[in-house]
Amino acid sequence: MSKAINIITSTIVPLHNENVDTDQIIPARFLKATSRDGFGKNLFRDWRYENDDETKPKKDFVLNNPIYSGKILVAGKNFGCGSSREHAAWAIKDAGFDVVVSSFFADIFKNNALNNFLLPVVVSDEFLQKIFAAVEKDSAAQLEINLKEQSIKLLAGGEQEIFEINHYKKTCLLNGYDDIDYLLSIKDKIEAFEISMNS
């Protein structure tokens, strides 16, 4: 099963776009699989390749630029809007990311990410711009994300910010639990609730 998260230190892949929707993250034509694996190779497919041709990577797209790599994807506001497809979170995780940083996430995407131990970190607009500026200056700039402390820090300059996360979710991520385990553990409560509802 998925593993617990606490401190993640990594270089950054900056994606300057706002309103990145899940159709961009993983286009619908790649949703035909019946398993959760292998979506990473189609992450941002239509931004990555010319005419859907893997031999023709688009040079100006950040995932094709060898100077950027790492486990942290940083993107403009309203990341993950659109479709509820969890395949979007699977694709990002499968492509090697553990964290997505943005100034704003769409609701369903945020839940889907958390359910897959992909940490969505919400930062202020100013801090987001600071991160973008830092990687622009030095593509090897690193971020340190400390879930326990709820902090995100630019290692070079030392600037940092505290981010919000629901206490329950934080506990789940730190311990590697998921919601299903929790819900299964209260099944008799649910059954009692059903009886009271119908009476």
Binding site: H16, N17, E18, N19, D21, D23, Q24, P27, A28, R29, L31, K32, A33, T34, S35, R36, D46, N51, D52, G76, K77, N78, C81, G82, S83, S84, R85, E86, H87, A89, F104, A106, D107, I108, N111, N112, N115, N116, N166, H167, Y168, K169, D178, D179, I180, Y182, L183, L184, I186, K187, K189, I190, F193, E194, M197
Partner: protein
């Protein structure tokens, strides 16, 4: 718990005591328990599933070696990935076929009712729920599809979920949810000629942006909304997700009750009367508190069209695309990128833009009233020569009804092609894709890059605006064609 920054005393619903909103009345009744400093355990009444977002959830159950907890509360259909021609033949594309076969097998193994291809109830999941009477006031409804918000038109809490959550509902009939903030959008007054419910919602999204309601449950109220038919209300709630809302909802009233009565799964006899009494309590009390409230004058709305690559980028059809100096500096980049994708210029007029395809379909606008609206406009007219028109009914029942009313003949005489039910070019997952670079005026809900096919360009509009464009071959103002 709730952040009540803005309190308005606006009263658009029958008065009542207690200060609860419609949303809270339903929410509170479905809380199994609340985790301290965390989310609530929300009980789910109805769960709709389809072939694309369910297979991995079934795999999860099978891995745990457990069966679906309440199979009778689940209804399945095949819609996202099915062909819209020759549905009686085996699906040609191997992966799509496998996905549909997996659904058949999973439903059989877990005792879930499936309205698959060929079944008289098959159709887009958000079209069949209401038309079968499965969707009812006061329920919690979920589906692994973001447009589940559609069902909120009946006064239900209905929202889209991811596959892990599909698995949670399958195993326990519950979800862990944080209570959203509440917003009410009031639309009052008479609609202008040529303006329909799709224009109302495109107008609202253009005002508050594609993320303007993120974190909120949105109740739509006001005289304009009250005067809409059930199907028109569904179009509004359907697109509430396009402004980021967790769900959209409308208080049930006589229109709602009349719509549900007599449908396949509607309550019968004594049960009906009991339910009706309960449903009549479902409205926001006069002193209910909303975190945010918006007022809209219906008279200000004209037929709408989108020019960009998110549903918030919409304008009245007589207007020009914003020029660069009207755009916020921070947004310039995305704006220019979007126009570049669309092959449009900042500041230019949208009316008169040539189109190549017309798609009338999707869970937003593929119901019988939509098809009637289109047929009555195009009756006796012919489509423009170089335009291809696809009409995809939302369900087998809509298709049968259209044929019974002779709409198919009218549409075919105009040169339109009536296909078979499914999601089709709304998401371009099956073979119904708009070719690269081509323009499509579409009654669906998303104009994202590549949504209708790689590099396809989408203008979102109402069925009426789509119909007029089919005839003229251009983006046109329907008001100039109505007497």
């Amino acid at each position: 718990m709730m952040d009540t920054t803005k309190h308005s005393n606006y009263n658009s619903t029958p008065s009542g005591a207690g200060g609860h909103s419609l949303f809270e009345k339903i929410w509170d009744k479905h809380i199994v328990q609340t985790i301290e400093d965390g989310p609530s355990v929300l009980y789910i009444d109805k769960h709709l599933i389809h072939e694309v977002t369910s297979p991995q959830a079934f795999t999860g159950l099978n891995k745990r070696g457990i069966k679906v907890f309440r199979p009778k509360q689940i209804v399945a259909t095949a819609d996202h990935n099915v062909p819209t021609l020759n549905q009686h033949l085996p699906i040609k594309e191997a992966l799509s076929r496998l996905q549909v076969e997996a659904l058949i097998k999973n439903c059989a193994e877990h005792g879930i009712e499936l309205y698959g291809l060929g079944h008289p109830y098959q159709g887009i999941v958000h079209v069949i729920g209401p038309e079968l009477g499965i969707t009812q006031p006061g329920l919690t409804v979920v589906c692994g599809d973001s447009h589940t918000s559609t069902h909120g038109a009946f006064g239900a809490i209905a929202f889209g979920i991811g596959t892990s959550e599909v698995e949670m509902v399958m195993t326990t009939q519950c979800l862990l949810q944080s209570k959203p903030k509440l917003m009410r959008i009031n639309v009052d007054g008479e609609l202008n000629k040529g303006v329909v419910s799709k224009d109302i919602i495109l107008y609202i999204i253009s005002l508050i942006s594609a993320s303007g309601a993120t974190g909120y449950a949105v109740e739509f109220a006001g005289s304009t909304i009250r005067n809409l038919s059930m199907e028109a209300r569904m179009t509004i709630c359907n697109m509430s997700i396009e402004m980021g809302a967790r769900c959209g909802l409308i208080a049930p009233d006589e229109t709602t009750f009349n719509y549900i009565k007599g449908r396949k799964f509607a309550p019968q006899a004594d049960e009906w009367n009991k339910k009706l009494t309960e449903w009549k309590t479902l409205f926001s009390d006069a002193d209910a508190i909303f975190d945010k409230e918006i007022f809209i004058d219906a008279a200000a709305i004209e037929p709408m069209i989108t020019y960009g690559t998110n549903p918030g980028m919409g304008i009245g059809v007589s207007k020009h695309i914003p020029s660069l100096n009207e755009i916020d500096a921070k947004e310039k980049n995305s704006f220019e990128k979007s126009l570049h994708y669309m092959g449009l210029q900042a500041g230019e007029h949208i009316k008169g833009k040539k189109i190549d395809y017309v798609f009338i379909g999707s869970c937003t606008n593929s119901r019988i009233e939509d098809l009637r609206m289109v047929a009555s406009f195009v009756k006796g007219k012919k489509k423009a020569n170089d335009v291809e028109v696809w009409i995809v009914p939302g369900s087998k029942q809509v298709e049968a009804q259209a044929k019974q009313e002779g709409l198919d003949k009218i549409l075919e005489a105009a040169g339109f092609m009536l296909r078979q039910p499914g999601c089709s070019a709304c998401l371009g997952m099956n073979e119904d894709k708009i070719p690269a670079g081509k323009y499509c005026i579409s009654t669906s809900n998303r104009n994202f890059e590549g949504r209708q096919g790689p590099n396809a360009r989408t203008f979102l509009a109402s069925p009426l605006s789509a119909a007029v464009a089919a005839i003229t071959g251009k983006v046109s103002d329907v008001r100039e064609f109505l007497n």
